[in-house]
Amino acid sequence: MANLRAAIAGIGESRVGRVPDRSALQLQTDAAQAALADAGLKISDIDGLLTTPVRVEHWNMPCGIVAHHLGVRAKYLSTVDIAGASGCGMIHQAAMAIGSGQCETVLCVAGQNLLTHSTRASAVKSMAEGGSAHPQFEVPYGPLVPSLYALVAQRHMHEYGTTPEQMAEVAVTLRRHASMNPNAHKRELITINDVLNSKKIASPLHILDCAIVSDGAAAAIVTSAERARDLKKKPVHLLGQGYGCRHSHIGDTELTTTGAVDAGAAAFKSAGLKPADMDFAQIYDCFTITVIVELEDLGFCKKGEGGHFVEGGRIGIGGELPVTTHGGLLSAGHPGLGGGFFHVLEAVRQLRGEAGERQVKDAEVALVHGNGGVISIHCTLILGGAAA
C-alpha cells in the first residue's frame, strides 16, 4: 500500500460536556475555528470537507450543510459514515483525496449536542432502536446497546476468565486520564469498587462500564506532508491505515474476535511497524470490554489475555502501553459518531508533545483505533511525528 504522504496540520475541539448554549453546527464551527487557528490557516485555505451524520437534527446531506455553514468552497466533500470508526476514517479518506490530487487541504469535523438534545429516556430509546440492533430479529427482544456489548463481556469472561474487576480497571484508568484533561466531561476520580457498585445496566456491565453521553465537536485539518512542513505546528503524519468488518449484527456472530484483527494487521503492514513499536494507543472505548477485546485483536497481547493486560496500571500514563490518554468515551466525552475523533486529536497532541500533565514521555508513534456498530466495523490508523 502506497504511503499517502499526508499529515495532520491542525486540531481543535469545542467545549465538551453539557453545552446547552451551542447547536450542533455551532459546536462544529467552534471546533473548526480552533483547528484553523492551530494550523495558522483561514477558511479560504480549505478546499475539502469531510463530516459525519448527526442524530440530533435531520441533515439531508451533512457534508453540504456543514460546508455551506462554514463557508468552505470545497473541491471535494463527502459524508463519512463508518459509525464509531468515522473519526479515523475521515483522516484516511482526506489523505486519499489529497493524494489523488483532488484537493490540497481538508477540514474534517464532527460532533453534536447529543446530551442537551436528548432527554435521558429518549437517548436510551434511540440507542436501543438506533440501528445497532437488527430491527426484526433483535429489537423485539428488548436489547439496549449496552446489552449487546454485555453479551461480548459475558462470553469473554466464560472463555478466558476475564473479571468484572479487570473491566472496572479500564474505567478507573481512563477516568484518571480524563482528570488531567481540562476539557473532559467527567473528571472526578473513581475506584474499582465505585465501578462494581455502580448501577447494573446489563450484566455484567455497570453504568461506569459504559460510555457517557456528551455535547461536543472535534476537528482536524489534513494536508500534504510537504505543505504541512511549512505550517505553524509540527506535522503528525499518517503512516498506515486499515479497515475491517466481520459482522453487521452481534446476535448472529462469534463474540470475542472482531474485524479489528484485519484493520490492525493492515495498518501495521502499511506502516511497516508492529504493536511493540507503539508508544501509546488511542483505543475506542464505548464500553470497558471493548478496550480489552481490541487490545487482543490489534496484537498488543494474545487472545484471552486482555483482562490481565489492563491490570496493574499497564495501560495508564507511565505504564507499558498508555491507552486512550485523554479519557475516551468513558470519561472525556461521547457526542455520538464524532466521539472516536477525539482519540485522533489526542494522538496528535501527544505526538507534538502538547499533552501537558498527561504527556506520554518520548511519544513518537501511536495507534488510533475506531470501532462502530457492536464491535462490527473498524478503522485503524498509525500516526507518527516523523514522516515514514
Partner: protein, 145 residues
C-alpha cells in the same frame, strides 16, 4: 421473564414488520415452526437471512425447518429497560443462542429465573404469540433428568 411479566409487555413491545425477505420466517413462526435459510448448493445453514449464501455466494437458498434445539452462547440480564414497553419486564434475559444446526440468533430466555441462566445451557424453542401476525420464537431451558 415470567409469563405475567411477558404478558405486560405484549401491548407495547416493538414488533417486527415482515418484508419480502423475511415473510416466510414470520409465517412459519406463526405456525410454531422455526425455519432458517439453507443453501441448496453447499448445504450451509445461516441466519440472519441474506440474499446470497455467506459460505458459497449461491442465491439458491431455501427456508428449512430446524430442530429448535441449541445452547446458550452468551446472555445478559437486562436491568435497565430500553423503552417503556419493557419497563415492567426487568430483569429479563437477552441471549445469543447457538442452534444445533450452527447459526446463532438473539432471543429471550424464558421459563427460568434470570440468575439460573448459564452459558452452555441446553435450550429449546418456544413460541409466544404477540399479535395476529407476529409470534416470536423464544427459548427455554431443556429439563434435564
Amino acid at each position: 421473564m415470567t409469563a405475567e411479566a411477558l404478558a405486560k409487555v405484549v401491548a407495547d413491545r416493538p414488533l417486527p414488520v415482515p418484508d419480502a425477505a423475511t415473510g416466510p420466517y414470520w409465517e412459519a413462526a406463526r405456525g410454531e415452526r422455526l425455519v432458517i435459510p439453507r443453501c441448496d448448493d453447499c448445504g450451509h445453514y445461516h441466519f440472519y437471512p441474506r440474499t446470497l449464501c455467506p459460505q458459497c455466494s449461491s442465491p439458491r437458498l431455501k427456508w428449512t425447518q430446524v430442530s429448535g434445539s441449541g445452547t446458550v452462547y452468551s446472555f445478559t440480564i437486562i436491568h435497565r429497560a430500553p423503552s417503556a414497553a419493557f419497563a415492567t419486564a426487568v430483569p429479563y434475559v437477552v441471549a445469543a443462542v447457538k442452534l444445533a444446526e450452527g447459526p446463532h440468533l438473539m432471543t429471550n430466555i424464558v421459563g427460568a429465573a434470570p440468575d439460573a441462566v448459564r452459558i452452555g445451557m441446553p435450550v429449546k424453542v418456544v413460541f409466544q404469540k404477540f399479535s395476529g401476525e407476529i409470534t416470536l420464537p423464544m427459548f427455554e431451558p431443556v429439563e434435564t433428568a
